[in-house]
Every structure is written in C-alpha cells, then in structure tokens.
C-alpha cells in the first residue's frame, strides 16, 4: 500500500487487490520516523488507471473470442492486479506521538518511505479510552476486544440509532445491565416490553442482574396517587396530553385547591365528585369530567394503595434497572405515565431524595411531549437524569439533540435522508457517518463521541445471554 494523496484530513492510498483486506472503519497507521499518522478507512474503490476505459472496452469487445495467450513474462497477471488496484479512502484522525493523539494535520509522512500497517486494537483502545475505571465491554473490533468506560455515559446525553433489526435494543441492554452492575440506577421506558426479561438468561437461569431488575407495569404493580403526582404534573397531563382548554384548566386548579382544603388531601375520586357538585359552566364541567374519567380509566392512579417511586428506587441499594412497561397501555396512557415519571423524577432529584440516574427511552417520540426534549438536554441533565435515547427514526429526535449528543452508537442506515439527519451531530464529520453507517452489517455499530475519546470505532456488538422479549410475533413462525 502506498500513499497517493492527502487533502486536508482526507487521505488516499493505492493498494494491490490482495493487500488491503480492510473494512470500513478499520484503522491503519502510517509510520515515518518517530511519528505515526492514524487513519480510519472510509471506503475502498477501484483505482482510476490510465487507459482503463480503453482496456476494458477492448476486453469487452473480445469477450466472444476464445483467447490463448503465450505470455512469457507473466504480464497478464500483473495487468489483472493493476486493473483491480484499490483506491483506499481514509480520514486522518490525528498524529500519534509519544503515545498520545494530536490533531496535527500539517505533518505529512513520506509517500515512498512510510510504512502502512493495520493499527492494533490495543493502540486504538489506548487512544480512545478515557480515565474511567468501570469498563463496559461492547464487543470486538479489528480482532480485539473493545470496551468503553461507564463514566463516559455518566452525565452525558447518549443516542443509540439505526434502522430496524440492527441490534439497537441489544446494545441498550448491554449498557443498562453493565451500568446497573456498577451500581447505577436506570429507569427504562419500555414501549415494546423488550426489557422485562432481563432477569432471565436464555437457559432459564437467573441473570446477573436479576436482583436489580424491577418491572413496573402501570395499572398493575405501578399505580400512583394524585397527591403524589401533584398539581403541576396533573395540570401538565391535562394541558399537553389531554388537550384541556385554558379556561377549564383554570377551573381545575381552583377545584384542586378546593378539594385539598375541604378533604385534607386530593384524590381522583374526590376531584370527580367535586366537579359533579360545584358550580361550573356546563362545557367546563363536561371537559374536566371526561378528562378525569380518562385518567381513571388508565388505572394508573390509585389513591388507596399507591406506589412511592422514591421509596422503590431507594429500596435497591447496589444499582437497579426499573423497567416501566408501557407495552400494555394505550398511547394516551403511555404519555400520562411518562409525564408523571419525568415530572416526579425531576422533583425527587431536585429535592435530593434520590441519586442521579440514567433514563433509557426507546422511541421516545411516541410518549415524550415536544417541550420535554429541550428539558432533557438542559434542565434534567443538570439535576441528574442522563438520557440514553434509542430510535430507528432519527428525524423524530430534534436536530438540537444530535448537535448536543455526547455519545452516539450508530447502527446501519441505508436511507440518505436518515444519514443526512444524523450527520448533523457535532462530534463527527458527515463523510464518516454516511460512508461507514451505510456499510455496517447487523450487530455492528459505529461508536462516536466521548465514549471513544472522539475516535470513531466500528464494533461488532457482543452477544448477551439474556432472555429476549419483545421480538416481533410472526404469522409463519420463526424467520430463517
């Protein structure tokens, strides 16, 4: 392999056909003297050769001919190699000097004298790792084990994205189980019931996180009181989810205070009774009554035997995964539960009643109201909710979220508009996103951001022997 050209951070190599064996995302080192250029491979193409068009046309024209060739100097085999010469396109990630990576793009290694070789996984791990002490093994890359540090997810905004069935949820499970094993608490908003089986291994035995795994099913073992939800949360639910008009909301706030004053505490039944009794405009009464009955129908509110979310979180001492199973409730019900959970967690964190935690939100656009996105990356992060967003529809997450994402696990996307959307992330160039993500096989992802010290790494995500739930139910049984 030889350097052909370098333009900015883009570098091109010429290689013989059998020489490369490289895949998109692999790293090569170009050594010259004491310095080493670290290059990530983005693409492999045929080299543009002088006269190749003429030669190919000639081959094409003589295809019907049976050819017998007496070739004493074996020129033919060299020609075959030449025609298949590779143009390898890479991105310079920096210069390695004294064991550290610098963005010194002005240094040029010698075209003829420099040595080009595959970078070792150890070197890539060394350059990409941070100072953390809690490694999470993600999988394999370049024939070595690749891990990230749990600390690099802490206090960060992380996005896992890729098209369907590429392995996003699988990776999410690796992350949250590892985080829990290190003592972190994770709230998982589970739309498809994929995370409810984490306590079981494939072989039926209990998994390592069985004692940390709590499944909360709204309406069943997860019911809360109106008092615990509080006026602000219930008002938000009425406003944003149940689209209650402003006049009705004002009346509701008045009613809430009235019920509190008269009954000493606020219950859903107490509110419904009050609406039936007090003097209200008929339209307001109807509006409020129908909405409160909707809340009641969710069976999420139980003023008799409510679950105290803070007590439950604090009852698990050494890390826990609290899966809120949203798979069994309606779209409205999901949004009501999430509104409650986020609002409650914010209050508890602000009041110092619980420790900071991770929030895994899969397909969050299905249940997260628009005004919460900005909250997630500003206010909630400050008070100690660190989101891990998982989606197969990247454009459902606002552009600002990508710009501010600290970490991205990018799985395969083939659609250009999806890739264009993701390439807006500030932590990587769009060429890398577009060329590498398009070619990623299933279960492979490109890790971007702080988790890899801004050195993008393609990794084959490791297997995890946990029981898989939430798989698509099929008419004809198992695929393949």
């Amino acid at each position: 392999m030889k350097i052909l050209s370098k333009n900015g951070d883009k570098i091109e190599f010429l290689a013989a056909p059998g020489e490369d064996g490289l895949r998109r995302g692999d790293y090569v080192i170009v050594s010259d003297g004491g310095k080493k250029l670290l290059v990530q491979i983005l693409d492999v193409n045929y080299a543009e050769l002088p006269g190749i068009l003429e030669d190919t046309l000639r081959e094409l024209a003589s295809e019907p001919l049976s050819l017998k060739i007496f070739d004493p100097y074996d020129v033919g085999s060299i020609l075959t190699e030449l025609k298949d010469s590779r143009l390898i396109v890479g991105k310079v990630r920096g210069v390695v000097e004294d064991g550290s990576l610098r963005n010194d793009l002005l240094w040029l290694p010698s075209r003829l004298e420099s040595r080009i070789e595959r970078a070792s996984p150890e070197l890539i791990m060394e350059l990409s790792s941070s100072a953390g002490r809690r490694p999470i093994i993600i999988g394999e890359s370049m024939n070595g084990i690749i891990s990230i540090n749990a600390e690099d997810l802490d206090g960060r905004l992380t996005i896992i994205t890729g098209k369907k069935e590429t392995g996003k949820s699988h990776l999410a499970k690796i992350l949250i189980t590892s985080l829990a094993e290190y003592g972190a608490k994770v709230i998982a908003l589970d739309v498809n019931g994929e995370y409810i089986g984490l306590s079981m291994r494939i072989d039926g035995a209990l998994s390592d996180v069985a004692d940390k795994h709590v499944v909360l099913t709204p309406g069943e073992n997860f019911r809360v009181s109106m008092e615990d939800a509080g006026l602000a949360t219930i008002t938000d639910i009425l406003r944003y989810i149940l689209n209650t008009p402003a006049t009705s909301l004002r009346e509701f706030i008045r009613l809430w205070r009235l019920v509190k004053k008269v009954n000493g505490k606020v219950t859903l039944r107490g509110l419904i009774d009050a609406i039936g009794r007090v003097q209200l405009h008929e339209s307001v009464r109807d509006a409020l009554m129908s909405r409160l009955l909707s809340l009641e129908a969710t069976r999420f509110f139980d003023d008799e035997n409510p679950v105290k979310i803070d007590s439950m979180i604090n009852s698990v001492k050494e890390g826990g995964i609290f899966v809120i199973n949203l798979s069994k409730i309606s779209s409205h019900g999901r949004r009501i539960v999430v509104e409650y959970v986020l609002s409650k967690l914010s209050t508890l964190l602000r009041d110092g009643l619980i420790d900071p935690l991770f929030l895994l939100a899969e397909e969050a656009h299905l249940y997260l109201r628009e005004t919460y996105w900005d909250d997630l990356i500003t206010r909630m992060r400050h008070i100690g909710i660190f989101p891990i967003l998982v989606t197969n529809q990247p454009d459902t997450i606002p552009e600002t979220i990508y710009r501010q994402a600290d970490n991205i696990f990018l799985f395969n996307f083939t659609n250009e508009s999806d890739l264009n959307y993701i390439s807006k992330t500030a932590r990587i160039d769009s060429d890398t996103v577009k060329l590498i993500a398009k070619a990623l096989p299933p279960r492979h992802c490109l890790m971007i951001g702080r988790i890899v010290n801004d050195l993008p790494i393609v990794v084959k995500v490791r297997e995890m022997p946990l029981k898989m739930l939430g798989e698509t139910k099929l008419v004809f049984g198992l695929r393949g």
Binding site: L49, P50, G51, I52, E54, D55, R58, A61, S62, P64, L65, S66, L67, K68, I69, F70, D71, P72, Y73, D74, V75, G76, S77, I78, L79, T80, L82, K83
Partner: protein, 369 residues
C-alpha cells in the same frame, strides 16, 4: 531466470461454437510458440538480467500505436488509367481466414540502450468459430552491441542480421523488432495452416532490415504449396486517392472491386522489392479503399470473393485484421505492467524531463559497461 513452465496461465477457456471434432488446424498451437521463440526468449532474458541495477528513464508521452501508413502510391494511376476488376461473392468458396499483426513499444530508455516490448496476435476465423492467439509481450533490452544477435535470435538464430547501422537504435529498433516478429509469425502461420487466406498487415514490399527479401520470399514460397493465399492490407485508407480515381477515371463499377497497380508500385518503390501483386481494393459500398498486396494462387477476384464470404468487413477492412491489431496493440496499462516487471528485476526506473536530456546528460552517469 525466465520461467517457461508457467507461461500459459492466462489462457481463457475455449468457447466452442457448434459441435463436432476440430480439425488439426483448430487445435491450440500455443505450445509451438515456446519452441519457436526459444532462442529469442533466452537472449532477451539475458539482456534484461544484464541491466539489473541500471537506471532507465520512462517516456511520458508515448505514441502507443506504431503503424506505417504509406499513402503516396497512385498519383501515377491517374496518368495511365486503370480498369476495375469485379469481385464476385456469390460463387466464392468459404475459407478459413487467419489475420496476423504485431505491435511494439519502448518500455524504458537508457543512455546506451532501450527496453522494447513486442507483441503479436493471430486471429483465426473458421466458419462460425473465431479465436485468437496472443504471443507476448516479449521484453528485451537492446543496445548497439547486442542488437544484431538479438534480431537473429528472433529468427531462431539461423541467420545473422549484422548489417545494423541503417537504423537509429532509439527511433527504429522497436519497429524493426516488431517487423521481424511479424514475419516470424507469418511464416509460422504459413506452415501451420492449409487452404487458408492469410491476412497480413501492411504490404509485401521487401528490402529494409525488418522486411528482408529472402524472408518475405520464403513466406510467400511456403504459402503456395499448402494452398494458402496471402493478402496484405495496408491500414491506411486511401479514400482521397480513390476519390480522385473515381472522379478522374470515371471507374464505372460498384464495390466490391479492385484496381491492379503492381506496375505503378514497382516504379515507385525504388528501394524495396514488391513481392506479389498490388491492388487498390474497395470491398464495400460504404467502406473505404485500401492498398492490398496479394501473393495468391488463384485470381484476385476469387480470393477476395472468398474473403468477403468468410470474414466480415468494417468500413471495407477485414474484421479479423482489426481484431488482431487491437489484441496486440499496447496501451498505458500494459506499459505500467511491464515497467513493474522491470522494477521487480532490479531495474531502476525514473521519469526524466525528456529522453533527449537523458541521452546527453544521464543522471545515472551512464550505465556500467
């Protein structure tokens, strides 16, 4: 050392059309080339070994096709007047057609010699079947001292071509070498095939070093007893001349036809001897006119009739001859591949600003003696 045991590895599988046993002439004859060029291969291999470690320049602006295209032949015809000879296709017999062409290129140039590559191609059309045999490329380092011996070795070492000197080493040697390879392949084809129309590129003029009279005569003499007819087509279209002929002489004929012009050529080509007869041929209505030299047993009308029945024409020129030309012609990719072989053999290549500069101020200080 050159390994001759593995030189057929790029053979493509034969694509037989139709069924039935092949005649002995249809059998691949590639193995024959090994012995045919044994002396030359040994000599050329030694010549390349002798320049290991030597620095040679590579030209950047190479002309990749070397053809001799004589065109000033028939002015005299306008003065004398000629009659066209009609070519009849309907009654003509179908025959095997074999076209032969060679090409050459300078691969690298030093202050004392030059590395030249030559390649030949035979295209054989036998009724519905067509196949090609490509011979080479051969690479050889030629300097003043070894040139005669090398040229002789191309002819099997039987004749010493030691009257070198009329040709400039750098300008003509590749053409001479390709010419001799072509003659060698022509002779080989004459001996290998029977009752065949052999199509050569160029003319049957003899005289210069690359076209020795004795060799051209030997080829023509060898063809006749085996029932072979030789037609040599000049690649150069003489459309302009035809235009003038048709206008001035009012040739009242529809193609295909030929005009006999041996007498004119014999007067014009003073330094060379024309073996056979020379014609101006216009073989298709839409096609152009070409010079055709013929060494044939039958009438020119019969032989061209058989050719038209057996081979296709592209703009009035035989398709097999075009294919042979295409298959032997070098392009840039070939040049890169051959220069790569020189590097592997320890020869250092560099790109001088010009070959003239190289000759008079070689940066390597001249090659070792």
């Amino acid at each position: 050392m050159l390994n001759l045991s593995n030189i057929y590895k790029h053979m493509k599988p034969n694509n037989p059309v139709g069924r039935g046993a092949m005649t002995q002439y249809q059998q691949p004859q590639i193995n024959g080339f090994k012995s045919l060029f044994k002396a030359f291969l040994e000599k050329s291999d030694r010549s390349l070994s002798s320049i290991k470690g030597v620095k040679l320049g590579v030209e950047t602006s190479e002309v990749f096709v070397q053809d001799e295209w004589p065109i000033q032949l028939v002015e005299r015809l306008l003065k004398e007047g000629v009659k066209p000879i009609k070519v009849s296709v309907e009654d003509a017999a179908s025959r095997r057609v074999v076209a032969i062409d060679t090409s050459s290129i300078k691969v690298a140039v030093g202050s004392k010699g030059v590395v030249v590559a030559i390649r030949g191609a035979l295209v054989i059309r036998e009724w519905s079947r067509i196949w090609a045999e490509i011979i080479g490329p051969f690479m050889v380092y030629i300097d003043y001292d070894g040139v005669g011996e090398l040229l002789s070795s191309m002819l099997g070492g039987e004749v010493r071509l030691d009257y070198w000197g009329d040709y400039q080493l750098y300008n003509s040697v590749q053409k001479v070498l390709a010419g001799i390879l072509e003659k060698r392949l022509q002779e080989y084809a004459v001996e290998r095939f029977k009752d065949t129309i052999l199509l050569f590129d160029g003319s049957l003029s003899a005289g210069p070093l690359d076209n020795p009279t004795w060799l051209v005569s030997r080829i023509i003499d060898g063809a006749r007893p085996r029932g072979n007819d030789i037609l040599a087509f000049s690649k150069t279209s003489i459309l302009r001349v035809w235009g003038e002929l048709i206008t001035s002489l009012k040739l009242d004929a529809e193609p295909p036809y030929v005009v006999e012009m041996t007498w004119a050529i014999k007067e014009l080509e003073m330094r060379v001897k024309v073996l056979g007869e020379t014609y101006l041929a216009r073989l298709s209505a839409g096609g152009e006119g070409f010079r055709v030299d013929a060494a044939i047993r039958k009438s020119i009308g019969d032989v061209l009739g058989s050719l038209l029945k057996s081979d296709s024409l592209i703009y009035g020129y035989p398709e097999t001859l075009i294919l042979a030309h295409d298959l032997c012609t070098f392009n840039k990719m070939d040049l890169i591949a051959m220069q790569s072989i020189l590097r592997r053999r320890g020869i250092k290549l560099f790109k001088p600003t010009s070959i003239r500069w190289l000759l008079f101020r070689p940066i390597d200080g001249g090659e070792p003696a």
